[in-house]
């Protein structure tokens, strides 16, 4: 198979296993984002694909070739680092051409390829400067150029935008997405930034404590999180969690937290089977609906963000966050009535946090 394949990849340091039996298939042309908090193992995984760190067990295939025991430069990959990692003593031109020179490509051919990449990334005028004379954004462009010029079958990005300021990050994000759409090459991209994951990825792999929590499209990771960890890690403000039970109340189904019954609307049919069981309900802030038919709650705080406002509410013994447009400002201390969009809620097993799929 083309693309990248990880089979039972394991990583241990001095006998301590940090990743066990990681299995991933990255299709040719995919933009795969490894998402997770610090220390979840995403960079380790990327380094193992790159060959910078040996895998303790398992096998790694790139384009159908077993590369588990190959050196990084034999794997047909290129990598872009958070710190850019440009060679400080070389000009931009030499930085980009260095990998080709190491491969023994003739000088005029290198010159031509560097010029092409310079045009593509619009860094032509910078080619004779030293990295220290460039801004952060320009340096990262050069680093991307250094990867592009090699024309590898897989690009690896290790938090490439984390050192840039917010505006530049947004611009570079767009450029990366364009670049991927244009070149159609496989990309494995590590980040802890869920916005980057959601906007760039064709597939997201959420990692925690050295294990894959969910591997799916960005939409599914957001809408149908596989467990509580994924649900709480993805999405800002974070998802609301309430422990309790589904209960029948007349014709309707409500969620009883023990301190109050939260009304649900549009509950899927399958949820009726779960009535009476202990559950954790997850509702994203935008799925708390302000409605006169809802349960009484008290506004603790309203945070206007511009396009939205986040409203912190005390309801049924819990504190929940709702998200609503800015048209009607909320005031602390006032009352509001809310209900939960049952069609978009998530339900988890309270013991292990696994999501319950409704039939």
């Amino acid at each position: 198979m083309n693309g990248v394949e990880l089979c039972n990849v394991t990583k241990a340091y001095a006998g301590l296993t940090v990743m066990e039996n990681i299995n991933l298939e990255i299709a040719d042309g995919d933009f795969l984002v490894l998402l997770g908090p610090s220390g979840c193992g995403k960079s380790t995984l990327l380094n193992m694909i790159a060959g910078l760190e040996p895998a303790t067990g398992g096998a790694i295939h790139i384009n159908g070739r077993d590369v588990t025991d190959l050196e990084p430069d034999e794997r047909d990959i290129a990598m872009v680092f958070q710190s850019y990692a440009l060679y400080p003593t070389m000009s931009v031109r030499k930085n980009i051409g260095f990998g080709l020179k190491m491969r023994g490509m003739p000088k005029d051919e290198i010159e031509q390829k560097v010029a092409e990449v310079g045009d593509l990334l619009q860094i032509g005028p910078l080619l004779d400067r030293k990295p220290s004379q460039l801004s952060g954004g320009q340096q990262q462009r050069v680093a991307i150029g250094r990867a592009l010029v090699r024309e590898p079958s897989v690009f690896l990005f290790d938090e490439p935008l984390s050192n840039l300021d917010a505006k530049l990050r947004a611009d570079m994000r767009i450029e990366l997405k364009r670049l991927h759409e244009r070149l159609g090459r496989t990309i494995v991209y590590v980040t802890h930034d869920q916005i980057e994951a959601m906007t760039l990825a064709t597939r997201v792999v959420v990692l925690d404590r050295g294990a894959v929590q969910q591997a799916d499209t960005p939409e599914n990771v957001y809408r149908r999180p596989a467990n509580r960890f994924v649900a709480s890690f993805v999405g800002a403000p974070t998802m609301n969690f309430i422990d309790g039970k589904l209960m029948q109340s007349g014709d309707d189904i409500v969620f009883d937290s023990g301190a109050g019954a939260l009304p649900l609307v549009d509950v899927p049919v399958g949820a009726r089977d779960l009535i009476g069981r202990s559950l954790t309900l997850g509702a994203r802030p935008e799925h708390l609906l302000f409605d006169p038919a809802g349960i009484a709650s008290r506004v603790l705080l309203a945070e206007p963000t511009g396009p939205d406002q986040y409203v912190r509410l005390a309801v049924a013994g819990s504190e929940l966050t709702a998200r609503i447009g800015p048209e009607q400002p909320f005031k602390s201390g006032t009352d509001a009535r809310i209900l939960i969009d049952g069609a978009r809620m998530s339900l988890f097993e309270p013991q292990n946090g696994q999501a319950i799929t409704l039939g």
């Binding site: 790159a50 910078l52 990084p72 290129a78 680092f81 400080p88 260095f98 190491m102």
Partner: protein
């Protein structure tokens, strides 16, 4: 504030005076004639400055010495150059490579090796002198320039390795990873990436090693033999073994001549030197 300033400059002035007055005495005495030295104070300026004594120190005084040699420093200057250039190149070059290997490539026992090198640095040369003599003798190069060079390299390499190792330890990991992905192995990473990065350290290491080797007396005296006597040893012979009246002006001129190369190196490379030290070269 004013008084603090005054005190500060006063102290600095005194310190400068203490350091510079011997230099002044040396220069002024070397420019005097023997008559003037006999009759005047050492602090007076030369009445009729001349370079006769310098000439004598450099070329020797053939009327005074026995045999075919005239006893000047010129020939031992050449010997010193012949010792310094290879010893400098080898000790700095090898130190750069070993320092790089210790800092960048994870080898078994690298830390132990480095610790051993550090210990080696702190052992006084006198302690190892005799074992070294035996080693060099066994190699059959005792009493030659080659033997002396080898001893200097052995002594210098611990120091240069430490300097380079500490510098290369500060190079970011990502840079090394990028080079590995670009396909640079041990030597190409060293040559294309690490060595150009280490230019300030290279400069400092060369200056310090030059100074050590040029100023060395003990090793030169012990290992050089007759053919390999460096300038410092020749200076000692010149000052200590003249017949008749002591020629202070020639002695002073000879001493100045011997010290001049190191002085020149410091003056020419002063800025580089400070930059290298500021870059964290001599920490740890």
């Amino acid at each position: 504030m004013q008084y603090n300033r005054l005190a500060l400059y006063g102290l600095l002035g005194i310190a400068a005076l203490m350091v510079l007055s011997p230099v002044f005495i040396m220069v002024s005495t070397s420019l005097k004639s023997m008559d003037e030295i006999r009759n005047g104070s050492i602090f007076t300026l030369p009445a009729d400055p001349g370079f006769a004594a310098w000439g004598k120190a450099w070329f020797g005084d053939c009327a005074k010495t026995l045999g075919d040699k005239c006893g000047g420093l010129s020939s031992s200057f050449l010997t010193s150059v012949k010792i310094v250039i290879p010893a400098l190149a080898l000790s700095v070059g090898l130190g750069a490579i070993t320092g790089y290997a210790l800092a960048v490539w994870k080898m078994k026992g690298a830390n132990l090796m480095f610790a051993a090198l550090l210990v080696g640095m702190f052992i006084p040369p006198q302690v190892t002198l005799y074992p070294l003599i035996i080693m060099i003798r066994e190699l059959g190069i005792f009493g030659s320039i080659g033997g002396l060079i080898l001893v200097h390299v052995i002594w210098g390499i611990a120091f240069t390795t430490m300097m380079f190792r500490n510098f290369f330890k500060t190079v970011p990991q990502d840079l090394l990873k990028a080079a590995r992905i670009d396909g640079a192995g041990f030597w190409r990473l060293f040559w294309h990436v690490m060595l150009p990065l280490s230019l300030p350290i290279l400069g400092v290491a060369m200056i310090l090693q030059f100074t050590y080797i040029w100023n060395d007396f003990l090793l030169g005296l012990t290992f050089g033999g007759r053919s390999g006597q460096p300038m410092t040893v020749a200076l000692n012979n010149l000052v200590g073994s003249q017949f008749g009246e002591k020629e202070y002006n020639v002695d002073m001129a000879a001493t100045m001549l011997t010290a001049l190369p190191t002085l020149a190196v410091y003056l020419l490379s002063g800025r580089l030197f400070v930059r290298g030290i500021a870059a964290g070269a001599v920490k740890g």
